[in-house]
Subunit: 306 residues, 4 copies
Amino acid sequence: MQQILDDIAAQMALETELGQVADYIPQLAHVDPNQFGISVATPDGQVYAAGDASTLFSIQSISKVFTLTIGLGKLGNTLWSHVGREPSGDPFNSITILEYESGRPRNPFINAGAIAVVDAIMMGHEPREILGEILQFVHFVADDDSIRFDHRVAASEMAHRDRNAALAHFMKSFGHLKHEVNKVLGVYFHQCSIAMSCQQLARAGLFLVSNGVNQHTGIRVINPQRSKRINSLMMMCGHYDGSGEFAYRVGLPGKSGVGGGILTIAPGKGSIAVWSPGLDPVGNSKLGLKALELLVEKTGWSVFSD
Amino acid sequence: MQQILDDIAAQMALETELGQVADYIPQLAHVDPNQFGISVATPDGQVYAAGDASTLFSIQSISKVFTLTIGLGKLGNTLWSHVGREPSGDPFNSITILEYESGRPRNPFINAGAIAVVDAIMMGHEPREILGEILQFVHFVADDDSIRFDHRVAASEMAHRDRNAALAHFMKSFGHLKHEVNKVLGVYFHQCSIAMSCQQLARAGLFLVSNGVNQHTGIRVINPQRSKRINSLMMMCGHYDGSGEFAYRVGLPGKSGVGGGILTIAPGKGSIAVWSPGLDPVGNSKLGLKALELLVEKTGWSVFSD
Amino acid sequence: MQQILDDIAAQMALETELGQVADYIPQLAHVDPNQFGISVATPDGQVYAAGDASTLFSIQSISKVFTLTIGLGKLGNTLWSHVGREPSGDPFNSITILEYESGRPRNPFINAGAIAVVDAIMMGHEPREILGEILQFVHFVADDDSIRFDHRVAASEMAHRDRNAALAHFMKSFGHLKHEVNKVLGVYFHQCSIAMSCQQLARAGLFLVSNGVNQHTGIRVINPQRSKRINSLMMMCGHYDGSGEFAYRVGLPGKSGVGGGILTIAPGKGSIAVWSPGLDPVGNSKLGLKALELLVEKTGWSVFSD
Amino acid sequence: MQQILDDIAAQMALETELGQVADYIPQLAHVDPNQFGISVATPDGQVYAAGDASTLFSIQSISKVFTLTIGLGKLGNTLWSHVGREPSGDPFNSITILEYESGRPRNPFINAGAIAVVDAIMMGHEPREILGEILQFVHFVADDDSIRFDHRVAASEMAHRDRNAALAHFMKSFGHLKHEVNKVLGVYFHQCSIAMSCQQLARAGLFLVSNGVNQHTGIRVINPQRSKRINSLMMMCGHYDGSGEFAYRVGLPGKSGVGGGILTIAPGKGSIAVWSPGLDPVGNSKLGLKALELLVEKTGWSVFSD
C-alpha cells in the first residue's frame, strides 16, 4: 500500500492541470494549488501516507459526514423529518429545488441539508455548546485532540454568507429551521472550517470501514446499520451533481469538500483521504479524483466488483 | 439460502398492503397483485427460488440494463455522448430536465435516456434487426433461448405512447435522436415487453455479480470495468427518484420495472430477482422492496458494510 | 397617416441590422430579409400602406388570434378549460411549464396553447373540415376570399414537427387533447401557413379595433366583451417572453409571428400590420418592432396614455 | 360616478365570500374583513368615494409603483440594469426564477424586483434618508402631508422577513444588491407599511391618468413616456401570477397589495382605489376585484375597447 501511495503521489506531482482553487473567500483563494496529499487507514491499525499528507486543510463539506453521524445519534430516524435522502441532481448551493419541495432539502450533503442538520442537532443550545460537541466528536472518531476550528475561515465564510443565508432564510420561511439563521450559520461555517490533515481525516473515517467500529481504538461509534446507511448517502449524494461521475469512476462512497479534500470509504478495506486544492467545474478536487481512480485501479477496491 | 427465500415468501404472503398495479395499459392493469416471486442465482452454479418464481412477467425498465450493456459493447465510451450518467432526482418520465439540458437525458435508466440508448444502438438498422439482437443478447446472458417479447404488451404501449413520444420528439428536436421516432419507440416498447420469470432474470444478472463473467456458463459477457460501471449506474439511477431510498434501505445496485420486477446485484455474492406487481408511489414493487430488505438483513449482503 | 407610413418605410429602408430570418424550415429560411411592409386600416374605411405591404408572407402565430376568436365563438368560456390566460414568462415552445401545470398550457398564444385551441375547436371533425372553417373565418374578417394556405409551408412544418409534436404528445399524455396528435398538428401547421399581405392582415384585425365590429363591412364578428378580452390576451401574451418588452415599447395589444409579421390593435384608432422577415432573439420582427415604436411615437397611439 | 360607487359599495356589502385576510403578520391578520372602500379621482378635480374610503390601510405592494417612479426619476433607463420588465408567471415571492436568471429579478413588481429597486435608489444613503425621500414623494403625488409609515407593521414584517431575506441574500450572492441586506429590507418593509385611505390613494395615482401630470395640482410628476411605461408595467406585472386574469377581467393597469388595496389607472379617465382586506388565492383583494369589474362594466372604462 505504501508503494501504491508513493507511486500515486509521484504521478500527481507531474500533473499540470490542477483545476481552480476555490476563491469565494480569501482564506481558500490563497492556498497554494501545488499540493497533494493522500493517506489510507486500514482496519489492521496501519496508516499509510504520501505527499502533503500531514498538512492541515479546511475540510469544508466533508464535515457534513460528521454532523450527519451526530444527528443520527441524537435524533435517530426522526432526523429524516428534517432532511431527505435522495440525490438532488443539482449544484451544492441550488435553491430552486427547495421551492418545489416546500423548503425541505433533498439530502444532508447539499448545503441546505447540512444547514438543516445543524439546526436539528442544536436543540435549543447555544452555538458555543454545539460547536464543542462537534469538535469533541471529531476528536473522538479521529482519536486526535489536536484538531481545531479555523476561526478566520469561519469568520470569512460568515462575511460572504449570502448564498447560504438565502438557503437558510428560505428554509426558515417554510418553518424548517427552528433557531436564528445567523446562529445556525455560525455553527455551520465553524463546522466547515475544521482543519485536518489527510492522516487525521483517514483515521476519522475508519468507523465507516468496519460497520461502525473504529478498529484502531476498538470503540464502536455507531451501530452497523447506520454505518451502512451513511455510506449509502455518501455514495448517492456525496459529490453534488458530480455524484454519478464519482460512483462511475471511483465506485466507493465518498464526500468531497471545496477545500480540496475527499474522504472515501472502502468497506472492510480502508478509509482514504486525499487532498489537493484545485477543483474541477463541479467543485471536487481534480487531482484528488485522479488519485482515487488510480488507487482503486491498483487495489481493485470498488463496491461494484467482486 | 433456500430457507431464507422460503421464509421471505411466506412472510410476503401475509402482507396485505400490496401497492397499486400499473394501470396505464390493460396488459399490466389486469395482472393479479397477489403474486410474489423471488430467485437468487449464485456464482457457484445454484439458483434458489420461492413463491411465483417461474411465472413470466413484463420486465419493462429492467430491460434498460441489457440495452445499456449492448450499447457499451457496440459504442464503448462514445455511448456517453448520447446520454449522461448522473442521477436525475426526477420521476422516470420527467421532461423538464431535458429542456434545461438541451434535450440530452441525464442517464440511461430514465425513459428518455433508455430511448436515446435505443437510438444509439440502432445505427441505421431496421427495428426488426435490432430487436433480434436484443433478444439474442438476453438469451445469451440468461442462458435461455425460450425468452420472448410480448407483442400485445408492446402494441398496447405503442397505443399509449404519448408521454414517451413527447420525450422522443423533444430529444429529436434537439438533434439527439437520429432515427424516426416511431421506429425508436417500437424498439423501446418491445424491449420493455420482454417476459421473464424471476429465475430467468436472476440468471441473466449473473454476469454483473462476477466482474462481467457469467459463472454458470463460464462465458465473459463484458470486461470487469464495464461490469463495475453498470453496477454503479444501477446504484445511482436504478429507481428514478426512489434511488436514494433503495440505496439506503437495500444497499445494493438494482433496477426496477413498472411490471413489478426488480433485479438486484450483490457483487461476488449473487444475482437476485424479485417480482410482485403492486407498486409504491414512486413506481417500485412494494413487496419486492420489502423482500430485498429482509434478504439483505438475513444475508448481510450490502456493498456498504464489511 | 399616409405620410407617417411613408416616413417609416423610408427610415426602415436605411436600417442595416435586420435580425435573423427564421431558418427551421426552408420555406422561411429562403425569404429575402430586405423587405418591409406596413399597413394601417382605420374604422373610417381607409387602408393606408407603405413598403412591401401587398407582398404575401406566412402569418404563422398571428393565426392564433383567429383560432382563439373561433374558439371563443364555438365554445364560449368553456374554452378556458382547455387553456389558461396568464403570461408564461417562457419562450414560445417551452415544455417545462406544461409539466409543472399537468399539461395544461398557460395561454392560447404559446404553441402548446394554440395546439390545445385547435384540438378544442375540432370537435370530432376531420382536419379538412376544420381548415375550411378557419379559412372561411379569415376570409370573413379580412373581407377577402383570395387568402390561401401555403401547403408547402405546412408540409415543411409537418416534416420538422418534433418540438410541436413533443408539446402535443405531452398534453395528450395528460388527457388535454382529444384528437390524434398528427391530425391536430396538421390543422395547426396549415393555420400557421396562411399567406397574407400587410393590407389583408390590417383589415382582418379591424374587428378588434371597434369592439367586435368590422367597421368597413359593418358586420359584428364578436361581442364587445370578447373583443376586449382578446385584446387583453394579445397584450399580456402576444409576444412570448418578449410580451413585457412589447407592452413597454409599443403599448398596444399585438401578436407576432415567426414569419416576421406583427398584427397590432389600437382600440378605436386602427389596426396595424407590419412585416419584415428578420427576427430579434425572442422571435419578433426586428424592423417591425422599430416601425411600431415610430408609429406610436408619431400618432400618440397607446392604451397607456391619455 | 357617485351613484355608480354607491351602488358598488351597496352590492359589496351583500357579499359573503370575502376571501382570506393576509395572516403572515399579526398587524394584517387582525384587520376586520368586513370592510370595503372605493374612491375615484378624475382629472377634472373631483374625488368620488363610497364605503370605507377614508379608512387607512397598509398599501403594501402598491408602494412599488411609487418607488419604481422614484427609481426611473433618479436612474432613468439604467434602472433596467437592476431589474427586468417581463411578467414572471410566478407567485410574488418565488425564488426559483432568480436562479435561472442569475439573480436578476424579472420585473419591479415581484418582491425581488422591488427590493432591487430599493437597493438601486439607496445610492449609498442611509435607510432614514431614503425613507424620508419616499414619504416626501408620496406626499407630493397624493398632495397630502399627513400620510405616514406604520412602524409597527414595518417592525413586524422585519421580524417575519425570512422569505424576503432569502430573496435579498440570494440576489446579493449574485452581486445584484450593493447595500446591506438588512438595511435594504428595512427600507422595503417601511415602504410597504405606508398607511393610506382609498381617497388618498386615488389622488396619488392621478399622475398616471394624465400622462405624468397630476391634474388636481397641475404639477408634472414625470414625463409622458414614463407615465405610459409605468402603466404598461402595471398592466403586465401588477398582480403576480394573477396579472393575466386582471387584464382579462378588468382591462386596466393596476397594482394590488396584500393589505387588500388595488390602485387602478384608466388613462384619461380616472384613478381608482379600492380596498377590502380579504384576498383571493393569488393574493389580490377579492371584493376589490369584483368592484373593479362592476366599475368597468358600468363606465365602459377599458384600455382594450374603443
